[in-house]
């Protein structure tokens, strides 16, 4: 009798998961598997995609050797992500630390920092970026910092770096809403007893940050890195995503587009794998020290 009710309980579990599994399989897993087959085939008839012939890794090779547009676009998206991700993480971390301090109107600040997220990365944001609103917003600060005398003093190299920084800063800040909130929740979960113990031992704020806050936050930093990278590579306004869409729907090169998207996915997976290994080592080291 006991066993029977237990089995029944588990069966009910399956019934509850079933709708999700059906949907997930039909619209995620099976397309994923199918895109592998597509990427190593050629299609002669577009209608119904019936005549498929296996052609091996032809498309993958072509992407790197024959396609003049692919590599520059790919590199551009990679640089954007690699430059923006650390900026987003550092800014949202600093803002989260400030918000986690005992300041007034914390709720108000949190709402405001979340506002740009609501605009999404879709239509409205692209209209705003088209207008150059992001550049306008920071130009005042830039002019204040980079007067002609200073420009001469530091030389063109530094000026370029600062220019680059200012051209990215507004998009970076506007993309940090989710990260700020995730960091904030992480900071609030660190036990106050740790800080008190450190203060009793006469640790400075600087020591406390490096020896307590940062190590305790590593898992959450990892979470945010993954979120930021996936979000950046999946952004509908990025050049690669637009390129797939063009290839696939305007130029009808379905198989080539599938190969491109797999190169893209594998790159993201490898990148995240590296981040994971790296973070794991840091976590292990800090745990070992503790």
């Amino acid at each position: 009798m006991r066993l029977r009710s237990d089995t029944r309980h588990k069966l009910e579990g399956y019934i509850f998961i079933l709708p999700f599994i059906v949907g997930f399989f039909l619209f995620f897993l099976s397309p994923l598997i199918r895109s592998i087959t597509l990427s190593v085939s050629d299609v002669t008839k577009m209608v119904g995609l019936s005549d498929m012939t296996l052609v091996g890794f032809k498309h993958y090779v072509y992407a790197f050797t024959g396609d003049v547009e692919f590599i520059p676009k790919f590199l551009q998206v990679i640089t954007d992500t690699l430059v923006n991700t650390p900026m987003i993480l550092v800014f949202s971390f600093i803002l989260a630390i400030m918000l986690s301090r005992n300041i007034r109107c914390r709720g108000f600040f949190r709402v405001v920092f979340f506002l740009p997220f609501l605009l999404g990365s879709g239509y409205v944001m692209s209209v705003l970026l088209d207008l150059g609103l992001d550049q306008m917003a920071v130009s005042g600060a830039k002019d204040l910092l980079l007067t002609d005398e200073i420009k001469e003093l530091v030389g063109p190299g530094v000026v370029n770096v600062v220019d680059e920084f200012f051209s990215r800063i507004s998009t970076v800040l506007w993309k940090s809403g989710v990260q700020i909130i995730i960091f904030l929740s992480g900071l609030q979960s660190i036990s106050p007893a740790l800080y008190e113990a450190a203060r009793v031992d006469a640790a400075t704020e600087w020591d406390i940050f490096w020896k307590i806050t940062l190590p305790m936050m590593t898992p959450i930093i990892f979470l945010n890195i993954v979120y930021t990278i996936v979000d950046s590579f999946g952004d509908v306004n990025n050049a690669m995503i637009n390129y797939f869409t063009d290839k696939c729907f305007s130029e009808n090169q379905v198989c080539y587009a599938a190969a491109l998207s797999w190169i893209y996915f594998l790159f993201v997976a490898v990148l995240l794998g590296l981040v994971f290994l790296f973070m794991n080592r840091i976590v292990n080291r800090t745990v070992g020290q503790g």
Binding site: K10, E12, G13, I15, F16, I17, P19, F20, G23, F24, L26, F27, F28, S30, P31, L32, R34, S35, L38, L95, M98, I103, R110, V111, V112, F113, L115, F117, L118, L119, G120, G122, Y123, V124, V127, L128, L133, A137, L173, I181, I182, F183, L184, S185, S189, I220, V226, V230, N237, F244, T245, F249, V254, A257, A258, S261, Y264, F265, V268, L272
Partner: protein, 293 residues
């Protein structure tokens, strides 16, 4: 009166210069972060001559609602009335939000609270699939939707967005917080499993459900990609896609219709802001837990 003055002075003395710097910095950031939203709202009410001012202004001198009339008239010259796009968008968004919330939280409930054999495999696959950039599956999903004969139907816009790994993962992380003893006592009182789900799980997970509703609402409402891919008829377009086509595509500045574009941006953002403000308190509560576990 003298007393009041004294307290004010005493209070002001207690404020350290460091604090003032922090507040000033925060205020500058607030202005900066609110900028896109303020700009969208203000621009929608600018008369034509103010729209073309350079550099653009973040306030409006003579507010007008002409832009909205422009928008409606430029949409109405097409075969499909504006209301049709609005109807499509609302229907699709509402269906997505309801279905994904139900399917994902039921799934998470079955997985975490019933632990059937293979549960860990399923949750592993879900976590791994978080890393897949969605565009990888765009083409084959299109083929499947096409193969099922769903092109140009509402189902094509809704069904692929229901079983979303991220939504499932989010609810799954919170399911553990509901104590098993509570579920057991409900079962002893004769509640069915569906009763347990709707009467206990859903109310207890209200914060995470609000987060889910807000996220899926924002993404469904802003999404023009699905409509672009899965529909061909004008009458099946959703609002963001229709607005984009009157603006003349994303890339071109579409100067001639700046007013209509400004009004359309405002109309797109408005519902999202309303939903966020309604859900805000709950959402931020949940986010405050989701990072940890």
């Amino acid at each position: 009166m003298e007393n009041l003055q004294k307290t004010v002075i005493r209070r002001l003395r207690r404020v350290s210069p460091g604090r003032i710097v922090v507040y000033l910095f925060m205020l500058a950031l607030v202005a900066f972060m609110a900028l896109p939203m303020v700009y969208v709202i203000v621009t929608a009410f600018k008369p034509l001559e103010e729209l073309y001012k350079f550099p653009p202004q973040f306030y409006v001198e003579n507010p007008t609602v002409n832009n909205f009339f422009d928008l409606f008239s430029s949409l109405e010259s097409a075969d499909t009335p504006f209301v049709r796009y609005l109807f499509n968008s609302v229907l699709v968004t509402v269906l997505i939000v309801i279905l994904t919330t139900l399917v994902c939280s039921m799934g998470a409930f079955g997985l975490v609270k019933h632990t059937p054999p293979g549960a860990s495999v399923i949750s592993g696959i879900v976590v791994a699939s978080l890393m897949v950039v969605p565009q990888v599956t765009t083409i084959p999903t299109f083929m499947i939707v096409n193969g099922l004969g769903l092109m140009d139907t509402f189902w094509a816009l809704v069904l692929p967005k229901v079983a979303v790994a991220f939504n499932f993962f989010l609810v799954q992380q919170f399911m553990g917080q509901v104590p098993n003893s509570l579920l057991e006592s409900a079962r002893l009182d004769g509640a069915t499993e569906l009763g347990v789900f709707f009467r206990i799980i859903m109310p207890m997970l209200r914060p995470v459900i609000s987060t889910l509703v807000m996220f899926s609402f924002t993404s469904a409402w802003n999404d023009y990609f699905s409509a672009l891919v899965y529909t061909t008829k004008d009458s099946m377009k959703t609002l963001p896609l229709a607005l984009q086509s009157i603006a003349g595509g994303v890339g071109s500045a579409a100067l001639a219709r700046s007013g209509a574009v400004a009004a359309s941006s405002f109309l797109m953002v408005l519902p999202v802001v309303i939903v966020f403000l309604l859900m805000q308190r709950k959402v931020i509560e949940t986010m405050a837990y989701s990072g940890i576990k």
